[in-house]
């Protein structure tokens, strides 16, 4: 768990507040550009664009 960290969106470079209860491999959205991002590392915080939705994704 981490607390109140920030990171930059890899798509638009906006500053994102990372939730205190964020988890590794969690998906979050950039509030500025709407890009779906994945937290690939918590310490240090590292974000990457989430994988594109594939045809077999779903419930």
């Amino acid at each position: 768990m981490i607390t109140n960290q920030t990171a930059n969106c890899p798509e638009c470079d906006a500053t994102l507040n990372i939730p205190a209860d964020a988890m590794q491999n969690e998906l979050i959205a950039c509030a500025d550009c709407g890009a779906e991002l994945e937290i690939i590392s918590l310490d240090p915080i590292e974000l990457d664009l989430a994988p594109e939705v594939e045809e077999d994704w779903g419930e």
Partner: protein, 293 residues
């Protein structure tokens, strides 16, 4: 102590809620990413999982892959190795395929839309016209309301079929055709855990596709004895587990089972229903592990 694995493509709100529910129950699940899996299919469950533990150390693996194909293949592996999973491979395989779901429901006489299966453009037109316009064309596998087509007339049918034949792979040359149900701008999603309908929501939308993944909104739906009965029957028909049963209401007020989801999304459903779906699901999962052990 047997371990619990949570098999995921990535962590979404649902997986986060499940992890919290496991932790509240005193269990720390190992998160296993499907992208990290590299299994020797000729070797057994003694090989090491991405978590660093042997697969055979797992008393339960909860399959929550957003990738249906990855989830199904891995459930098949675990079933072969005798590792308990929720849901199990048989249930997931039936739910992931609309044709097999329809057959399973039909076998138990459970009310559902009129549905036909065809494989060529000509027979697909015949199937569509047998159920009548408007009809609904769906991919046999797929989710989130993707590539659903409401077919209002012969010209639309011919155009959609030509597009599917030309642009789609072989999966899109299987024509799963349903009669359109004139539902009241909403459908019902009920959550069935084991043999209990734990809660249900209405999914409201102006559009005929009401999936919350497509922007539909959720409100509480009372679990009436009628809804409870059809949902539990439907869940049993596909093998049971932790399932979301989607239903349509006919103009006459009858309930029809539309589809059943085996890696259900519920982030929008606990708040309107007041039911902690993750907690209920985890209690069932841990009970399954105890029963099997």
């Amino acid at each position: 102590m047997m371990r619990v694995g949570l098999l995921v493509t990535h962590i979404r709100a649902e997986e986060k809620a499940l992890i919290a529910a496991f932790e509240a129950a005193g269990v720390q699940p190992d998160v296993i990413l499907d992208r990290d899996v590299n299994i020797d299919l000729n070797a057994g469950a003694g090989q090491i999982a991405p978590s660093g533990y042997a697969w055979s150390d797992y008393g339960l693996i909860v399959e929550r892959c957003v990738s249906t194909s990855r989830g199904l293949y891995l459930l098949a592996v675990f079933a072969t190795w005798g590792i308990p999973t929720v849901n199990d491979y048989q249930t997931a395989a039936v739910c992931a395929d609309k044709v097999r779901t329809t057959l399973a429901l039909a076998e138990q006489g459970i009310a559902q839309p009129q549905t036909r299966l065809a494989f060529t453009p000509d027979s697909a037109i015949e199937a569509i016209e047998a159920v009548g316009y408007p009809a609904v064309l769906k991919p046999a596998t797929g989710s989130w309301g993707r590539l659903l087509a409401r077919v209002n007339d012969r010209e639309s049918a011919e155009a959609i079929i030509e597009h599917r034949q030309t642009l789609g792979d072989y999966n899109h040359h299987t024509y799963y055709v349903q009669a359109y149900v004139a539902k009241p701008q909403r459908d019902i999603r009920a959550f069935v855990v084991g043999d209990q309908t734990v809660c249900a929501i209405y999914r409201h939308a102006e559009h005929w596709i009401t999936n919350t993944a497509r922007g539909g909104s959720a409100s509480n739906c009372a679990v009436t004895p009628e809804l409870d009965a059809i949902c539990r029957s439907a869940a049993r028909a596909v093998g049971g587990g932790v399932l979301a049963v989607d239903l349509l209401e006919t103009p006459a007020g009858d309930l029809l089972v539309n589809e059943i989801n085996h890696t259900m999304e519920f982030r929008n459903s606990s708040a309107p229903t007041g039911v902690d779906i993750a907690q209920v699901a985890v209690a069932y999962m841990l009970e399954q592990m105890r029963v099997i052990a």
